[in-house]
Amino acid sequence: MHHIYCPYCEETREEEEYSYTGEAHIERPKDPASITDEAWGDYLFFRSNPRGIHHEMWFHAAGCRRYFNATRDTHSYQIHETYKMGELPTITAKTIAADTLAAQQGDAS
């Protein structure tokens, strides 16, 4: 049962208020007519679906009715951050890997 911070309502709210709306940062091709069927198919259906850090969209359906993004671990279900539409994540699989590495090195020293 996720507990999700809505960056517009500025509060953490229950999962029941939200609906999940898929992978974030998939931009609509600027000129659909000029791209191949394959590229169009990729845009329509193909997803990264990682086991781990995922950037995804949620819709605050029962709240402010804003879409926003979340960086969530699809295995632990930990939500690392939520951020507004148009913004970029500050936490990614890469930054987490770097943090983990740094922590390990810290332990070692």
């Binding site: 996720h2 999962e15 999940y20 198919g41 259906f45 990264s48 679906n49 990682p50 995804e56 699809t74």
Partner: protein, 416 residues
Amino acid sequence: MKKYSGFSLFKHSLSHHENWQAAWRSPQPKKQYDVIIVGGGGHGLATAYYLAKVHGITNVAVLEKGYLGGGNTARNTTIVRSNYLWDEASKLYDHSLDLWKDLSQDLNYNVMFSQRGVLNLGHNLQDMRDIERRVNANRLNGIDGVVLNTAEVKEIVPVINDSQDIRYPVLGASWQATGGVARHDAVAWGFARGADSFGVDLIQQCEVTDIVTEEGAIVGVQTTQGFIGANKVACVTAGNSGVMAAMVGLRLPIESRPLQALVSEPVKPIIDTVVMSNAVHAYVSQSDKGDLVIGAGTDSYNGYGQRGSFHVVEHTLSAICELFPMFSRVRMNRAWGGVVDTCPDACPIVSKTSIKGLYFNCGWGTGGFKATPGSGHVFAHTLAHDEAHPLAAPFSLDRFNTGHLIDEHGAAGVAH
């Protein structure tokens, strides 16, 4: 392989069951195989079994990161049916149903396939139109099915709430008498034992960490037990398919979602058939142990956690109590989740890929268990011939680029 029978049981009982042989070997991986199957679930094991049995390809390894049959095979509600809407899907599932009918004998392992019939309920006029459409399509494809009215449903399931004054009354149902349930673990173990008897190596606790290619062609896999070579690698990894694809830089039209199920405490038999309702998201049958086995809807988010959110279970159980008011006093014993690989058209992917020697069999979503023998059978053909089995051809990856989707949401829904 020593044959199982009532006689063998009796014989072994005389020696206190001390002399049973292992159902399968636990071999060390060889350096090189003809085919590596990644994923030791029901589909992967069935693929190995049919590769060996039908195509004579036995230099095969099944690599399983955990234990055999430990993923969705172990977690589903075991429903078997073939009453899908579209020709492509119904023919594939019916092929599977045909294999189910003789599977215990074929494997010399009782998979307890029990054709106790499957009801798909309709609760509004559009449901009933869809049911008519689907059953008619099934009938003309030679798949059994009839449309029942409320009274006929009540006759088959006397405990169902047939009141027409409830929020979503039962208006009727489709009935596939040849559908039913099977013992999920036995299916995995039966295929495992069968494949092993042909010489297939079943290697557990062996996680594939990378798929190795050279010049666009498969050369093997990197695993927690070292590198293992093969020119053909078949990924049958269900919810983890996206993870496998990412190893070679591919994306799939798949999202992995939690799907929850639950069982009640065992009670004396009260319901003989499988009852499914897409409209209110509730599916129930009763096991031979007496548990009410109930499937819920998928959670909406991507999740590999093998668990979902409580409100999904709440939703399902309120629907169950509405359909079966006397179930209200029974108690939920255990709830769990699986990771289902859902496709945009609720149909599987049984396909070659852009990388030579790399194959995927995935995307079975919420309904993969029923397809286990059929999926393995057609996929083995695809692997053996490097060309899709005719029944598998419509399920290639390129349908997502051509637009030739086979939209089974109506029939598959969140159905199991």
